[in-house]
Subunit: 268 residues, 2 copies
């Protein structure tokens, strides 16, 4: 059986203490350079592989500094501070001696506490009742996911006619793969740019910064397995070249796995 | 006229290239160490003072690694990547040779584009009709702000009775001070921990990571001046020791200035 493309993409080669070599992967190619979600997953994977790792991911912020050129690059990950139950990470991705991503992460030992999900999963028909889009995927990375849009898919006609940026989709890796923290970071970036939805207009865009908060621990991820996730995304403001998007990912049973945010550059 | 406490707090002394000395300020003292918002403002200020600064803040992520002890600490700010119109910053706060905060920021030259605010300001009575809370401020930093709660203020009785974490408040510096990027970063952390609101229970909490997206540019900030902002905050999930909160700040006229998110540690 062939290794899943995602596992190939996050296979990092140790170079020295806290330094790994990574490669772009053709299955996750975007228009220019790789899909941002896979780079976020690679950055997190350097933390997850680090021999000094404490606990599980709580938050991850990745800042996209420049397009990565197809090929090899280095990931530097360093625990800047280790407390009794939390650990703070500084991460930098470098290619030909230039910084292409800066990132920070927090990992922690979690213990069982009182809890409640306050953001309810929206009512949506089950994934089996949501057909695949009939437009073919225009970019390689889109084929790396199975999208079953509920509402707010890419417009069929780019006529500037949108009136909301809200999308709800069922999504999972294609082919299906059991969820882990790295793939959850990757899927957090799976939502099309809100500008495309809101305005039905194709303009150059690029994510500048993305933050992922992991509400799920590893036990919950095992429970979810390779099943569909329900994703919801919405913008709050589009202003002078930058818009934000705020998103959630639930498992089929309504457990909130991730809340995530990003700010995206756009050209008029 | 005495200098505003906020200006005293963000007055940084240059030590060497990209390194500043900062001090905690008694007006922003929290239960243990300083209020997180003032530390975020100080971290951003190091970027804003940097001679290589390009443009205005777009995003800021601060990770609280450890309580800062009252007194001096160092802020190290370095532009990791400068592009034609965006710049990526790595920031580290150090006290007695240990990292107490890691942070990243993105600044950019903005230009006028198509835009729309999609998250509407909730309908609230004007600040003049919202009385000050009648409970005295229990901590110094609370007195540094004028809070006029609309809904979801701290419970009068801690009886475990909450059913929502939603708060809406009018807020500004006390005494009033014209808004700038540093104070906007500070005010982004002004919302009480959602756990206190949702559960009417006081437990130990501490913000782990906060991200601020600046939708307002400097012209908009000048327009807002020292007027009240409407803030709204809500949690999405409380789970095994960590909860998130997602917030917005509008000016009185409904212009969205900031969207901000944080993840907070809590003890059962």
């Amino acid at each position: 059986m062939e290794t899943h493309a995602f596992d190939q993409a996050i296979a990092l080669k140790p170079l020295s203490d806290g330094v790994w070599q990574a490669h772009t992967h053709p299955a996750y190619a975007n228009m220019v350079g790789p899909f941002g979600g896979i780079t976020a997953a690679q950055a997190l994977q350097a933390v997850l592989l680090h021999p000094q790792l404490l606990g599980e991911p709580i938050s991850l912020t990745v800042n996209y500094c420049a397009a990565i050129t197809d090929g090899a690059f280095e990931i530097h990950a360093r625990p800047a501070r280790t407390n009794r139950s939390t650990q703070h990470w500084l991460i930098e991705l470098r290619q030909t001696d230039a910084t292409v991503m800066t990132a920070t992460a927090v990992t922690a030992l979690r213990r069982e506490t009182w809890g409640v999900d306050e953001e309810p999963m929206p009512y949506c028909p089950p994934p089996e009742n949501c057909p695949l889009p009939d437009t073919p995927a225009s970019l390689p990375f889109i084929r790396a996911f199975e999208y079953r849009p509920v509402t707010g898919h890419l417009p069929g006609v780019w006529d500037g006619s949108g009136d909301t940026s809200l999308s709800q989709i069922w999504v999972r890796d294609q082919p299906p793969r059991p969820l882990d923290f790295a793939s959850l970071a990757c899927i957090s970036d799976v939502f099309f740019p809100r500008l495309f939805i809101r305005r039905a207009t194709l303009v150059p865009i690029g994510t500048v910064s993305m933050t992922v908060y992991f509400h799920a621990g590893s036990v919950q991820l095992q429970r979810t397995g390779a099943d569909y996730l329900l994703g919801q995304a919405k913008a709050q403001a589009f202003r002078n070249g930058f818009f934000d998007q705020t998103s959630q990912l639930w498992d089929r049973h309504g457990v909130l796995l991730v809340t995530t945010h990003q700010i995206v550059y756009y050209k008029q």
